[in-house]
């Protein structure tokens, strides 16, 4: 399988949770996808879509109910150890040694991943610098803020060089500067030929980072491809931003009657997503901007968020797995 360049292969994956009381819950329902070597693969979906369940299966923490899952050609159920030897993971839950110092967290992690002892201090210094943790090196993790704890957890995976890196909402809780540093570190890993499989709720992050994106809903893949492919699922969609001299209820009322994909406003600025094939809609917009004084008018191609909302019906919802995922 590695010869075909596919590092992760998932075929018809089903995962059913059978709680002691209540009905069985299908978290993954015939999911199929593959991830190529050196790719940054983003898995998106709303809460309960099955993202974390899939990540747990890929990282050998949970067993599939049916279907085939292979990482680097190894079956997740039969060859878990071989997979674990070739991967590192940032789980959604905070996972740090609270009673150890930052440096000890990095050191013990490296030892678990068989990094030669002589290399560990050099790597630790690099990672401390990379994640801005130098001044906290000797502090016990229990004394750090939530964001710093998360940073320590993420920093650990950069102590080791494994072909596959799994990241479950890795940047959650980080400030923008450290988030940027983390994204850059992830890119570096991919440039070095490593395969990154990540889940995130931050769509801008996925848009910026991922080579391939899969959107899953109710345990099924509803969109898969690179960013242009995903965006093409809503053909000719555009985001418009209009800043009025004064955004009145009357203007808002008129916009709300239009068939827009989404609409929001803040102050005198109104943001909406439209489809350019709708010529009547363009004409109406043109009339509105002539009737009401406009300071700024901008049209951009639709964002991943627009596609995401459109594909998932724009309604807040709970997936079939509820809190399980």
């Amino acid at each position: 399988m590695e010869s075909t360049g596919r590092i992760i292969e998932i075929e018809e994956l089903v995962k059913v949770f059978r709680p002691r009381s209540g009905m069985p819950v299908t978290a993954l329902d015939g999911l199929s996808l593959s991830v190529r070597q050196g790719e940054i693969f983003g898995l998106l979906g709303r809460n309960g879509a099955g993202k974390t369940t899939l990540l747990r299966i890929l990282t050998t923490l949970s067993a599939p109910t049916s279907g085939a899952v292979r990482v680097l050609g190894h079956d997740v159920q039969r060859e878990g150890l071989q997979i674990r030897r070739n991967m590192c993971v940032v789980l959604q839950e905070n996972a740090v040694e609270l009673y150890l110092s930052v440096i000890d967290n990095l050191t013990t992690y490296a030892r678990f991943h068989a990094i030669p002892r002589a290399d560990i201090p050099v790597r630790a210094e690099r990672v401390l610098r990379q994640f801005g943790l130098e001044e906290h090196r000797n502090q016990k993790v229990i004394d750090l803020s939530g964001g710093l704890k998360r940073r320590v957890q993420v920093a650990k995976v950069f102590m080791v060089d494994k072909p596959v890196v799994f990241l479950d909402e890795a940047t959650t809780g980080m400030d923008p500067i450290n988030k940027r540093a983390t994204l850059e570190a992830i890119r570096e890993q991919a440039r070095a030929g490593r395969t990154i499989f990540l889940t995130t709720h931050i769509l801008e992050e996925a848009e910026e980072l991922c080579d391939t994106i899969a959107i899953i809903d109710r345990g099924r893949c509803i969109a898969l491809g690179d960013l242009p492919t995903i965006k093409s699922l809503i053909p000719n969609a555009f985001d418009i931003t209009i800043t009025f001299v004064s955004l009145t209820d009357e203007i808002l009322g008129e916009f709300q009657t239009l068939p827009l994909l989404k609409i929001s406003h803040k102050g005198n600025t109104l943001e909406a997503c439209i489809r350019s094939t709708d010529l009547g809609l363009f004409e109406t917009l043109s009339q509105l901007t002539r009737r009401y004084p406009v300071r700024h008018f901008e049209v951009r191609s639709a964002t991943l968020e627009d596609v995401f909302i459109e594909l998932l019906g724009g309604k807040p919802g709970t997936g079939p797995a509820g809190d399980l995922t």
Binding site: L81, R84, R85, C88, L91, A95, T108, H113
Partner: protein
């Protein structure tokens, strides 16, 4: 082997962060022997009869203290699963490049080393302070018994710690188990003098098998054939507990 050493190293780093904890672990059994043992030694001034031999209570109780210390370390180590779960690190461990068995073995090996140091301190100071007539020629058997005891009880308790999700439930389980295992055994008194129903319970109790084997190894008291049978019984208990703990860790974490 590297993975087992890595788990041991991690246990060592954590233990090293609290010297009070370490001190308590090392000297607790001796303190028990000095306070509780001396009191009962006076109460049983004529000594205690075991398998036709009369010994003083301190000598009798030494193996009880050692067995209790093994159980205590096993409780602390198995409770570590809850601490790891609360810290979120538990599931991350299971993604590390090691087998479930290596994880369990590494976790208990460091604590077994702690048990050995604890045993040697208790024995040496017990002999010096309380004049316990120790059978020094069997000291290796004592240490082997302590190793098997600590690991066996850890694997037994780990099976429950991994299955029970709530630590208040686990605490209740431990309290009940501790109470029954301690008092329905030969730990504090000779089984032969117990009433019939309690004697049966005690003979079925792995704590009795462990304590009797340690008693034979420390002061040479007991019937050899019975002790061999009990040692075999405890070895079976050890193997079954290990298999159950590994199976639980493999299958029962996230179904």
């Amino acid at each position: 082997m590297n993975m087992i050493l890595a788990v041991m190293y991690r246990e060592y780093r954590i233990r090293k962060t609290s010297l009070t904890w370490l001190f308590y672990d090392l000297f607790m059994p001796l303190t028990y022997l000095l306070l509780f043992g001396i009191g009962l030694d006076r109460a049983f001034a004529t000594g205690i009869t075991v398998a036709g031999q009369v010994v003083n209570y301190n000598a009798f109780f030494l193996s009880g203290v050692l067995a209790m210390a093994c159980f205590g370390i096993a409780i602390n180590t198995s409770y570590g699963f809850f601490v790891d779960r609360d810290n979120g690190i538990f599931y991350e461990f299971l993604t590390y490049p090691m087998t479930r068995a290596q994880f369990l073995i590494g976790k208990i090996l460091f604590n077994c080393l702690l048990s050995l140091v604890q045993t040697l301190l208790t024995i040496v100071l017990g002999v010096l302070l309380l004049s316990i007539p120790l059978a020094w020629n069997r000291i290796l058997f004592v240490l082997l018994g302590v190793l098997l005891g600590t690991a066996g009880w850890f694997f037994f308790l780990a099976t429950f710690a991994l299955r029970i999700r709530r630590n208040d439930m686990f605490n209740t389980f431990i309290n009940v188990a501790y109470f029954i295992l301690m008092f329905a055994s030969s730990l504090f008194y000779p089984v032969g003098q117990l009433p019939g129903w309690l004697r049966i319970l005690a003979y079925l109790n792995p704590m009795t098998w462990h304590t009797d084997a340690l008693r034979y190894a420390t002061i040479g008291v007991g019937t050899f054939d019975v002790v061999v049978l009990e040692a075999l019984g405890f070895s079976c208990f050890f193997l079954c507990s290990f298999a159950a703990a590994v199976r639980t860790l493999r299958r029962g974490i996230l179904r």
